[in-house]
Symmetry: C2
Subunit: 334 residues, 2 copies
Amino acid sequence: MATIKDVAKLAGVSVATVSRVLNDYDNVRGETVQAVKKAIKELDYHPNFLGRTLRRLETTKILVVVPTISNQFYSRVVKGIQTAALAEGYHAMIAITNSDPVVEKEFIDMAKRKLVDGTIFLHTTMDAGKLSKFAASYPAVSSCELVPEADISTVSIDNFQAALDAVRFLIEQGHQRIAFVCAGELYHSSQLREKGYRAALEEAGLPFRPELIFNEGFTFNAGRRAAKRLLELPELPDAVFATSDSAAIGVISELSNHGLHVCEDISVMGFDNNQIAEYYLPSLTTVSQPQFDIGHKACELLIKKIRDLACENECILLPHKLEYRNSVKKRRVL
Amino acid sequence: MATIKDVAKLAGVSVATVSRVLNDYDNVRGETVQAVKKAIKELDYHPNFLGRTLRRLETTKILVVVPTISNQFYSRVVKGIQTAALAEGYHAMIAITNSDPVVEKEFIDMAKRKLVDGTIFLHTTMDAGKLSKFAASYPAVSSCELVPEADISTVSIDNFQAALDAVRFLIEQGHQRIAFVCAGELYHSSQLREKGYRAALEEAGLPFRPELIFNEGFTFNAGRRAAKRLLELPELPDAVFATSDSAAIGVISELSNHGLHVCEDISVMGFDNNQIAEYYLPSLTTVSQPQFDIGHKACELLIKKIRDLACENECILLPHKLEYRNSVKKRRVL
DNA sequence: TTGTAAGCGTTATCAC
DNA sequence: GTGATAACGCTTACAA
């Protein structure tokens, strides 16, 4: 593998001159530039980045820590990050952790070891203390799934308000017994959405029924499990509010396996507004998150941090909105 | 940011000793080890990877070049890669190109500049010449979407045989006018599948009808477009074979918008066996690709190449299989 | 305009 | 066991 020395030797100049050509300095004679470029071509030389970054102490790479990319939600956020990164000359690299702390730690080490200039967490297994400490020493931003109380810049939606809006809408459509499929204590977003759910019931004077809470998770199979349990209730709910589109579809799929028709017999509402929400039959009424914008903004904040680690933390909430489709119908009151 | 020198100074030893401790050499006195470890902790020191990799000329990182991660197909392949990588002490980083040659070039530069030890392409915009040249100088493997004639290790399924099997099955079910939704010249896999499609027709003595070929692409919307065009035909086909599950679902969705019932009025077959194939209503009869295994094997081949760039190229075909679900029914012959 | 040489943070090879 | 020191490939003062 050719190095800068080989190029210098072949071109009959010093390594410094080669370096100048590589970095487009304008104080090199035209002929010299040509000679160097010729040598570079001849040797098919590519500057070793490690040398440069070691010297400059910057990699122009950012790391995006995601739990999974099977979920389209994250892939759209990543696209936003990538777009913002590219615009500033950075490259986004994706690290998939499967929410495994050991794997996550390995990737965080990459940041600590300066293999990347900064890190965006779309989900982390770290607690507030660890995350705050990390963010104090290394450029980092937390997004999507936040860690409460952590000292770090964040970008997300207002999950409480979003769930409040969603359940209000269901109630406006005449639904009263509203089941809630959520992801439990591990996910702060799910907790906030549960608070929004409760608040909506409360303001409408509807009772909170613990038996209508299904702590199953965000996945399709979580929705299926919830639906199975739901079918065993003495009385079917009017509507189901799931904290993800995947779970909502799992619910619909399982219910229809049992001969129930979503819309007619029961309404189902999702969360995220993934592509599948639009494409499913019936199409899914859901809460839309501005996934691309979340990623874009998170990356902007990160680059700010990279340029000035001491800059103030910002906590940004982006607007959500309800997407009205076909899986929720007005309840015909008997 | 603390460096190895700071640790050495604080522990009252040389940098060499610190390095020995860091790398678990056993020729360091116990007390010295303790002193160094204490200093490391105290300074919250993390070895800068660039220094090490510069010295060792290896990064233990591999790059996975994907066109998109919105497609679940790729995310499963990536999971296979990651698993195999981790088992050998490597980390997989994902680079999303959106099939943009400029973006892809930037990431390839990372490989050329030694920021990663090797590269797996799940799709590339390079032609055979460029790809072969790259693979000759840098450890690389091509997978999923191959480049015909390129000199490089590959892992994929037998796309010709898979399509042949699929269309044979449709014909066995009594279908004769079989539409084909494909992705055109840009994708070698699609071309091979078209050849399989034609071969199946031919061996059954059925005529090839160019008007039943819909060159629209792999996406949901491609399926929709195909279905729209298909509805304008003077006579509806008996079945549709799409080269991806997404496209198949697009077809179903559009047909049902027009009041047609898949299974009853027309059969639809997909390709890939993504999660959605199982979850959609109706569930999708499709060709299953061993996505995880493809990724796993590709990574194994890459690591072989990293360890010995001169090792023989291997071209591996993994087995596909038909997944029988509900979107294809036997044709009732009138 | 160009070359010399120091230095980035490690590891490896010698000595001792 | 441990410490100097050269080296990895590159950039950048400083000198010439």
